[in-house]
């Protein structure tokens, strides 16, 4: 039986961090902080991948590598969108960005 010393606590920590990220996305109105919370959620998922990777080999670590790449691409494009919105509306407050609200 393979050893995995911190499997349970790591998964619990991952769950707590993911939930903090979700709460941040639901609570905050600043678009930039919302993006930071998305990064926090991605980090929590990375932790779960690595915790399982202890048991199942380095595949988990390779998945984390891909998640990091996607996170970097997402941050670059997302922040460019925020910049474009700010140039247009002079705000990043999500309450004021309601063009698509019915």
């Amino acid at each position: 039986m393979p050893e995995a010393p911190f499997l349970g606590p790591s998964l619990a920590l991952s769950a707590i961090l993911f939930t903090i990220g979700v709460a941040g996305v639901l609570l905050r109105r600043n678009a930039i902080v919302l993006f930071m919370c998305i990064e926090l959620m991605l980090n929590a998922v990375n932790l779960a991948f690595i915790a399982f990777g202890q048991l199942h080999g380095v595949s988990g670590q390779i998945m984390v590598f891909f998640v990091m790449t996607v996170a970097a691409a997402e941050a670059a494009v997302g922040l460019a969108i925020i910049l474009a919105i700010f140039r247009h509306r002079q705000t990043v407050d999500l309450q004021n960005i309601n063009l698509l609200r019915g």
Partner: protein, 183 residues
């Protein structure tokens, strides 16, 4: 000893996450997020993922958070007077988060034995999708910390790796097109 280190960094990570959500100033949020990411890097090293721990610091702290700080600086936002949503939204967020954390904490009951049994019963297709290499610790001991990750990445995962480069190119072009005033 390892337990003390693990729980120290776990508490630091959770504290950083909570403060990141609660801070009003975006710069303060970014700094607390940085503390979370450093703590997670330490935990990755404890979990035998040394290379990912270093990449976490280089990529997340060194690249992504710096982009965040650049954008905060470019927009010159300062501290918003009222940044949280209204009371009804807060109640909804607390309820959703509470449900989610209860659901996810159930993973604590996951044991190595149960995981091994599930892998043994997994259909062949799942095993092809996630080829089981040597365990992370053993692989690092025989092939080195970088070699253990690099081997599977350039063999089983070569095609996803190449697709990643296309993704990065698309993101690069997209970010330039979006952020530029006039093309």
């Amino acid at each position: 000893m390892a337990e003390i280190v693990f729980y120290f960094f776990a508490v630091a990570a959770v504290l950083g996450g909570v403060m990141c959500v609660l801070q009003r100033s975006p710069v303060a949020s970014a700094m607390w997020l940085m503390s979370t990411m450093f703590s997670l890097a330490a935990i990755f090293v404890l979990l035998n993922a040394q290379l990912i721990g270093i990449l976490q610091i280089l990529v997340y702290v060194g690249a992504i958070l710096v982009i965040f700080l650049f954008v905060v600086m470019l927009l010159n936002l300062g501290t918003a007077a009222k940044d949280l949503r209204g009371p009804s939204s807060i109640a909804a967020a607390v309820a959703i988060s509470g449900l989610l954390v209860i659901e996810l904490i159930a993973l604590w009951r996951y044991t190595p034995a149960r995981l091994a049994a599930e892998i043994a019963q997994a259909p062949e297709a799942a095993r092809v999708m996630f080829p089981g290499g040597a365990l992370a610790e053993q692989a690092a001991a025989t092939q080195g910390v970088v070699g253990a990750v690099a081997g599977p990445m350039f063999q089983q995962y070569l095609v996803p790796f190449e697709i990643t480069s296309i993704l990065l190119l698309a993101a690069l072009v997209g970010a330039v097109v979006l952020a530029k005033r006039r093309i």
